[in-house]
Each structure stands twice: as structure tokens, then as C-alpha cells.
């Protein structure tokens, strides 16, 4: 049941064999364990989007193998056998609101399941459940998706993918272009899906705070290569390396490094605001006491 994903020596060329050929992935080896929350970070153009399109076989490796559950995908794999994967691995693209097309919100959410043979009645029931899950008001369900706000359209699109009832949910910068509140709500939804329904999450993001707060494994991409992987704590323990690769620190960690320059001491660098508060409180207490 649990879907494990493995990349072995995966290379990918766009437009292979033309003068425009670009190698977007170079010798990628990676492993995504069931139930994990994996964050993928890296500069624009580093190959993140290309990598995740291998997770449901929208792209097939030019060489190497991708294993998704019990299915092995190579360059020679026949496209006919890929459809079950699309249900197992749900894919929320960047700006997913661009995929909406139905007359009503409800019909759009129910579109996916029907492509996998779910009856219209069952798909509609599923769509209602998913709309509630992503926090869409019932009154919106009969409206045209094109009349909604950007944030609402994005929820409709995410609900449309959740309606496939995937085991793995892949999201490509799902909070890009949203206001802070919209961002927080989407991230809360994603963690809730992982914690309550046991979905495996793969998230592309530029928000290091999100990485620190939610992820348990981080993949760092650079120029098509997987240049580093590990827990958020491991990744954020080397600010110089991160800066050299034009990646930031979580704001709490950044603040802690600045405090360190000013004489504070941290045994382990805090990644989140809560951790920072836990580390700071005793030191501030001591400082306050010593002034008495």
C-alpha cells in the first residue's frame, strides 16, 4: 500500500537530439519514504519542476530508473501503463488555478475521479468532501471557478487533485503569489493531510520558514544535480554554504545567528520561532538577573 519512490542515476534532457537539448537532471539518486514530508529547494532553473514531473511519470528519465511503488519506469516504459500512477501520485502544479475549466467549482473538483472510473454521483460526493477539506464554502460550489479570487481558485485546484485520493501529494510552489494568510492556510492544509491521512508530501518551495516548520527531509538542487540532502537541521547548519548557493535561512535561524554575533550562545541553532524562544528565554532571564 505505502508508495515508496526511488530515483537511480536519473538523467533528463529536454528536447534530446535537437540543437536545443538541455540537460535538466544529472545523475539524480534519491529516496522518498512513505509518510515523509520532503521539501525540495534550489534556485530557479535548478531542475526542481523537472524532477517532480518524474514522480508521476509525466516525464520519463532519459536514462536511469524511477521506481514508484512497484512500478519501474525507464526511458522505454510504455505510456499505456502509466495511468494508475497518476492516481497514486497527485500533482499540484505551479499556479494550478490555470487548469480549471468546468462550469462550476463542484464539477471541476469531480473531474479527476471520473477519469479513473468513479461514477458521477460518487465523484460529486467526493468533491463536496474535498471542498470542505480545503476550506471552500458550500455556497461557492455552484459558482463558476473563473468568478473566484486567486486564493479560492487555488484551493479548488488543490481539491481537484485531492479528489483523486492520492497516496503521495506533490506540490510545486503552492503558495507562490498568495498573501501571508493564504500561504499559512495552504501550509496548514498540507501538514494536516500528512498528519491526519498519512499522505506522503513532496513540496517545492522557496520559503525556508516552511522548510524549517514542516519538512523532515530536504533535497537541495543546483544546476540539475542533487547537491545536498538531509534533515532541515543538517541543511541549515552551514549558513556559508547556503549563501554560496543563493539559498536563505529560516528567519528564526537567521535571527539567532545575528544574536550570536551579539554575544548570545546557542547549543543547537533554532529553526523555528518556538525553538528560538526556548533557547532565548533562559538566557534573557539570566541576563536580567545579573543586572539586579
Amino acid at each position: 500500500m505505502a508508495t515508496e519512490i526511488k530515483f537511480e542515476q536519473v538523467n533528463y534532457w529536454y528536447q534530446a537530439g535537437t540543437p536545443f537539448a538541455v540537460q535538466a537532471l544529472k545523475n539524480i539518486d534519491l529516496h522518498i519514504t512513505p509518510g515523509s514530508f520532503t521539501a525540495v529547494v534550489g534556485q530557479t532553473g535548478s531542475g526542481k519542476s523537472t524532477m517532480i514531473q518524474h514522480l508521476n511519470a509525466l516525464l520519463k528519465p532519459s536514462s536511469g530508473t524511477v521506481t514508484i511503488g512497484d512500478q519501474v519506469i525507464t526511458n522505454e516504459t510504455n505510456n499505456k501503463h502509466l495511468k494508475p500512477l497518476r492516481k497514486k501520485v497527485g500533482m499540484v502544479f505551479q499556479f494550478p488555478e490555470n487548469q480549471l475549466f468546468e462550469e462550476t467549482v463542484l464539477k471541476d473538483i469531480a473531474f479527476g475521479p471520473q477519469n479513473f472510473g468513479v461514477s458521477e454521483a460518487d465523484a460529486t460526493a467526493l468533491a463536496k468532501r474535498m471542498a470542505a477539506e480545503v476550506g471552500l464554502d458550500e455556497s461557492l460550489l455552484s459558482r463558476s471557478p473563473f468568478d473566484l479570487s486567486g486564493g479560492q481558485m487555488r484551493r479548488v485546484a488543490i481539491a481537484g487533485v485531492l479528489a483523486l485520493e492520492p497516496e503521495v501529494l506533490v506540490l510545486d510552489e503552492p503558495t507562490a503569489g498568495l498573501d501571508p494568510r493564504g500561504r499559512l492556510e495552504i501550509m496548514q492544509l498540507v501538514t494536516q493531510l500528512r498528519d491526519e491521512q498519512g499522505l506522503t508530501i513532496v513540496l517545492i518551495t522557496h520559503q525556508m520558514d516552511d522548510v524549517a516548520n514542516y519538512a523532515d527531509h530536504v533535497l537541495v538542487m543546483g544546476h540539475g544535480e542533487l547537491i545536498k540532502q538531509g534533515s532541515p537541521r543538517e541543511i541549515f547548519s552551514d549558513p556559508k554554504w547556503l549563501e554560496a548557493h543563493q539559498l536563505g535561512l529560516p528567519s528564526a535561524t537567521k535571527f539567532a545567528y545575528e544574536l550570536q554575533q551579539a554575544g548570545f550562545r546557542f547549543d543547537t541553532m533554532p529553526l523555528t520561532v518556538d525553538e528560538l524562544a526556548d533557547e532565548l528565554a533562559p538566557q534573557l532571564q539570566k541576563g536580567a538577573n545579573s543586572h539586579e
Binding site: 535537437t18 508521476n56 502544479f93 490555470n98 487548469q99 475549466f101 479527476g112 473563473f146 481537484g160 487533485v161
Partner: protein, 266 residues
């Protein structure tokens, strides 16, 4: 969609790349017009040699051009078959009911195929070596005499360059939308005709909605910067006629003139 080479620009500094877009447009049109006058071995030989020389002068490998022809493969097969079966007359090689393969049919099929390939290749030389915006500038400049009769040349050129500019953007967008719908379980290119038409709707609607939104944004952005239609504006890129253009023109006129001479005076 990544595999479509037809209509794409390949940067370079070859003889053909350096030519004035107006020269390339005029020569391509001349060539296409003269293709229809070629009718025997020698005239086709001249046309083919001229084309291959132009391909060589573009410094883009022939195999890239051939790949550009592949998407049109079925269209070519179809036209050829129509010609083979419906061009009656001459010696009959094979017959089955009303399907007849005759000498005339084969001849005209060969001719059509040859013309087809030559015309596609010569247009491909133009698009491979000329940026879309240069083509638009060239067309505008060639049409500029029509200003005298109050033809809106500048407006037409603007429409053309905007359209050309957004072809690749729309193609990228179509690909993204297709991937998103594939992820929701749509099988493109499968099932019967009805099924296939049904799969077009989830691509076309988002594509149109995005294209309209983008058009509105662009017009707002242009108006915000004071753009006015139909003004006499100057150009950032000026078109200049060089020696390469004159030399190419002379070569083309001589070769194409030879085709005429062979057809009408031999």
C-alpha cells in the same frame, strides 16, 4: 510539443542569419512562386541545388531541417496518396475497383511531394534564421508603400509581432495545462473521435481564458506607458540592406530566371 521544430528560430551568425529580413522574405516568396513553374528534371534540379546551397549558407545541419518536416509526414503521405489514386491517365499499373494507379497519377504525386518539400524547406530556412520580430519588421517595411492608400500597416505589424511573440508562450502554456490534466487522469490521443474531442475542452478553455487575461494585461501595460495606435513611430532595430543581400538576390534571380528560361524557351 517540445519536438516541434517548424517555425522556430535557431540563433547563429551564418550568411543567411546576417541577411536583411526583407531580402529573406522576398527571396522566399520568389522561390515559392517559381516552384510552381518547375516541371521537369532540370528545373527541379536547379530548384533543389539552390535550396541546398541556401541550407548550407544557413550553417544549420540538414538533419535539423529534415526533423522539421517530420510533423508534416502524415499530411505529405495523404497528399501523395490522393494524387496517386486520383490522377488518372497514362499507363495503368494497378487497379482495384475505382482505385487506379496510373503513370500520370504517380507523376503528379511525385511533383506534388517535391513541391511540398521544397516549399516547406524554404520557409523553414526563413524561420530558422530570422527572429519572429525581425520577420514582422520586414513585413511592415515591405508593406509600407500601402500607407499611401491608408492601409493600417503599423497596426497590422503590431498585431503580427504580438501574435508571433506569444506563439511560444502559448505553446508552453498548452503543454503545462496538458500535463496538469494528464495528472488528473486525462488520456490525450486515445479512444474514438468523440473521446478525443472531449479531451480538447480541458485544454482549450484554460488556454483561452489565460490568453484573454494576458491580452488585457498587455494592453493595459502598453496604455500605461502611453502607447498610441497609428502614430509614426521610429524603430529600435533598423533594417539595413548589405552586400550579402544583394549577392543573394543576384544568385536567386539568375537561378530562378534559368528555371523560367528552361520552361519557356527550350
Amino acid at each position: 510539443m517540445n519536438k516541434v521544430m517548424f517555425g522556430r528560430f535557431i540563433p547563429g551568425h551564418s550568411w543567411v542569419h546576417r541577411m536583411d529580413p526583407r531580402a529573406k522574405l522576398v527571396l522566399s516568396f520568389l522561390y515559392i512562386a517559381v516552384v510552381f513553374f518547375a516541371n521537369d528534371f532540370w528545373t527541379y534540379l536547379i530548384m533543389t541545388v539552390l535550396l541546398l546551397a541556401s541550407v548550407a549558407a544557413s550553417a544549420i545541419p540538414l538533419k535539423v531541417y529534415i526533423r522539421g518536416l517530420l510533423p508534416l509526414f502524415w499530411l505529405m503521405i495523404f497528399t501523395v496518396l490522393i494524387q496517386v489514386f486520383f490522377g488518372a491517365g497514362g499507363h495503368v499499373y494497378w487497379q482495384w475497383g475505382w482505385l487506379v494507379v496510373s503513370q500520370n497519377g504517380l507523376n503528379s504525386a511525385g511533383l506534388i511531394l517535391m513541391r511540398f518539400v521544397l516549399i516547406i524547406l524554404v520557409s523553414t530556412i526563413l524561420t530558422f534564421t530570422t527572429e519572429p520580430l525581425e520577420i514582422a519588421d520586414g513585413i511592415e517595411s515591405l508593406l509600407s508603400p500601402l500607407r499611401k492608400v491608408h492601409f493600417p500597416v503599423a497596426t497590422l505589424a503590431l498585431m503580427l509581432s504580438l501574435a508571433l511573440r506569444f506563439v511560444p508562450t502559448l505553446m508552453d502554456e498548452a503543454e503545462k495545462i496538458m500535463n496538469a490534466q494528464r495528472s488528473r487522469g486525462v488520456d490525450f490521443g486515445e479512444g474514438g473521435l468523440r473521446q478525443r474531442i472531449k479531451t480538447i475542452v480541458p485544454i482549450l478553455i484554460p488556454l483561452f481564458v489565460n490568453a484573454f487575461n494576458r491580452a488585457i494585461e498587455i494592453s493595459t501595460a502598453m496604455e500605461a506607458r502611453g502607447y498610441q495606435d497609428g502614430e509614426n513611430r521610429t524603430k529600435y532595430r533598423l533594417l539595413k540592406w548589405h552586400g550579402v543581400d544583394t549577392v543573394s538576390l543576384v544568385i536567386y534571380v539568375i537561378s530562378l530566371g534559368a528555371v523560367f528560361a528552361l520552361r519557356y524557351f527550350s
